[in-house]
């Protein structure tokens, strides 16, 4: 990371600091105030988008640790979200737990599922690993669909609104003040995980797993740990998503959702938490844009079929991910760093 002119790292602590200069602190505080004041002046529609993005941020941050930092691809993140969602639903419906108690249950259940599927996954890599996680996606979806009375099959689990005393989370604004702080805390936690010993081990495994093992990093232990962290994040995100929508159904956790989450990583940039934020916001806003534009396009070209919403979303986002892979494989975060560097050095290019 390039620093502004005259700023030097003189200690390890300042080298590892997330927020480095006073200006950054100022901007951060201003952004936080703006973010938490935003429900006062934006509409319900934009708040619902913000809530969706904030929930996805959690799941994608987990995926970033596993895929971006540890280099293990995961085509089943949505399925681990489903584990969290269904666990939360079952805990609240069958065992009568409160929403708050169901969050750790969802996280633990998802972590167990992640560890279970990481048993084959830690031994393989590349396409074999992708295949393992794909199998996890299909098997978990299938279990949710055929779970009988436990998961209520195709009906899905209806979940009542969470409460805190008499305060019911039933409007977008109330959800906003619950989801966004949770999301920010999870992101900060993820950023800090990458700064620990385990986080550095993940990066070593990503860069060269054999060299990492020879240096004394246990591949088995750390890959499994990365899977567990990733699925804990998925579990929390799934739990929030199910409660926010009021229903847990496997239809919200399909293979395509897993693919889009990987796409968010690619668009944002592998190996940086800021990339998670850029990528998730970019892809989600792209989907919203397509949904807004789809009726107009359907009117303009009557020959295309009725599935225009789904079709245009798939094509646009798929193409964007492909273009990023070809032209900017290091993502928006990298592009933003270049812009910052250029601005700092202007008018001299070196």
């Amino acid at each position: 990371m390039r620093l502004p002119c005259g700023t030097f790292n003189e200690s390890y602590a300042s080298d590892m600091a997330i927020v480095r200069t006073r200006l950054q602190w100022g901007l951060l505080i201003a952004f936080a105030i703006l973010l938490f004041a935003s429900p006062l002046f934006v509409s319900e529609y934009w708040l619902s988008i913000a809530n969706t993005i904030a929930i996805y941020l959690i799941a994608v941050a987990g995926l970033q640790i596993l895929t971006g930092y540890c280099g293990q691809i995961n085509l089943g993140q949505a399925a681990f979200m489903a584990v969290g969602a269904y666990t939360s639903g079952i805990m609240m419906r069958t065992f009568g737990l409160s929403f708050w108690a169901s969050i750790p249950c969802a996280a633990i259940a998802a972590a167990l599922a992640g560890v279970l599927f990481s048993l084959p996954a830690v031994r393989v890599k590349g396409f074999y690993l992708a295949m393992t996680t794909l199998a996890a996606q299909f098997i978990i979806s299938w279990l949710c669909m055929h779970g009988g009375d436990i998961t209520r099959g195709t009906f899905g689990l209806l979940i009542s609104r969470p409460q805190l005393g008499d305060f019911v989370f039933n409007t977008e604004i109330r959800w906003f003040y619950l989801i966004v702080p949770v999301s920010l805390i999870m992101l900060l936690l993820a950023r800090n995980i990458t700064r620990t010993k385990a986080g550095r081990a993940f990066v070593a495994i990503r860069d060269n797993d054999l060299a990492a093992e020879i240096m004394g990093i246990s591949l088995f232990k750390h890959k499994m740990l990365a899977f567990a962290i990733c699925s804990v994040y998925a579990g929390v995100a799934g739990c929030l998503w199910a409660n926010y929508l009021g229903i847990a159904t496997y239809e919200h956790y399909t293979l395509m959702n897993s693919v889009w989450m990987l796409g968010m990583l690619i668009v944002g940039g592998f190996g940086s938490m800021m990339g998670v934020i850029y990528g998730t916001i970019f892809i989600k806003l792209l989907f919203e844009g397509v949904c807004t534009a789809a009726p107009a396009i359907a009117d303009a070209i009557p020959a295309i079929g009725g599935a225009v919403f789904a079709a245009l979303g798939l094509i646009t986002v798929g193409l964007v991910i492909m273009l990023f892979l070809i032209y900017e494989p290091r993502g928006l975060n990298h592009r933003w760093e270049i812009i910052k560097g250029t601005y700092r050095l202007f008018p001299f290019s070196y």
């Binding site: 280099g71 079929g305 789904a310 494989p329």
Partner: protein
Amino acid sequence: MSFFLQQVGTGLSLGAIYGVIGICIVLIYRSTGVFNFAQGMLLVIGAFICWTFITVLHFPAWLSFVITLVLASILGFVIERLAFRPMIGQPILAAILMTVSLMAVLKGITLLIWGGENQAYQPPMLPQNPAYFGDVVLSQGYLWGFGVAVVMVGLFIYFFRWTRHGLVMSATSEDHQLARGIGIPVSRVFSLSWIIAAAASAAVGIILANLFSASLELEYIGMKAFAVVILGGLESIPGALLAGLIIGLSESMAAGYIDPLVGGGIRDVFPFIVAIVVLVFRPHGLFGWKRIERV
């Protein structure tokens, strides 16, 4: 006993089709090093193109079949040229993401052109009345599928062992640098393998569409073929066929004998369970290459 034989017959015929889909994946993997997660969509698109020519435009069956193969080859060529040529030398992660986003784009295009509905071939390409072997009743579509699969496997084996292009492709799969060194145009080999795989997938797609109907659900059959490739080994063509038969048979057995216990639908997920078990105990599959890695 007749129930058992019935399951064996269905399983083997379906397994042969899985085998051919598996071979398409192996073909691309061996020469280009890309595991094609978009394989299922190639089946779907082949099925829908042929449906358009037969049912909408009323072309004769053989002509539609040929036109579909030609169009699918062009599609394979375009995919390789636009999406996978820039991926040469990129990390595996990028290649995987490229195939899954290709899957999304192809699915979107299919939805846009043909909508999401299931379409039956009208008039049907294959005879409809079932065939009887003692107690076993099989739809003739399965027999045709089995026949076509066997013919295609024969063609592939002949192609890779005795023709110039086939040998060139095998050489490329060994080592891209060396192949280039002895004057093999590697990028043209990549194109050729995508073209062959896309055409073969379209042919399988047409067979499947005759068995079931042309629909997006055929993609799922392509996904099951991933399990076939994992079991057979990513590098082996005969392995893919054998694994296809094993997966088809075991899936059919599971559907026959486990379904009553769990309440149905095990068929959809059984190949993936097999794949997980294979990955735990023998990650390189039956005939795959066990790679030794060095730092």
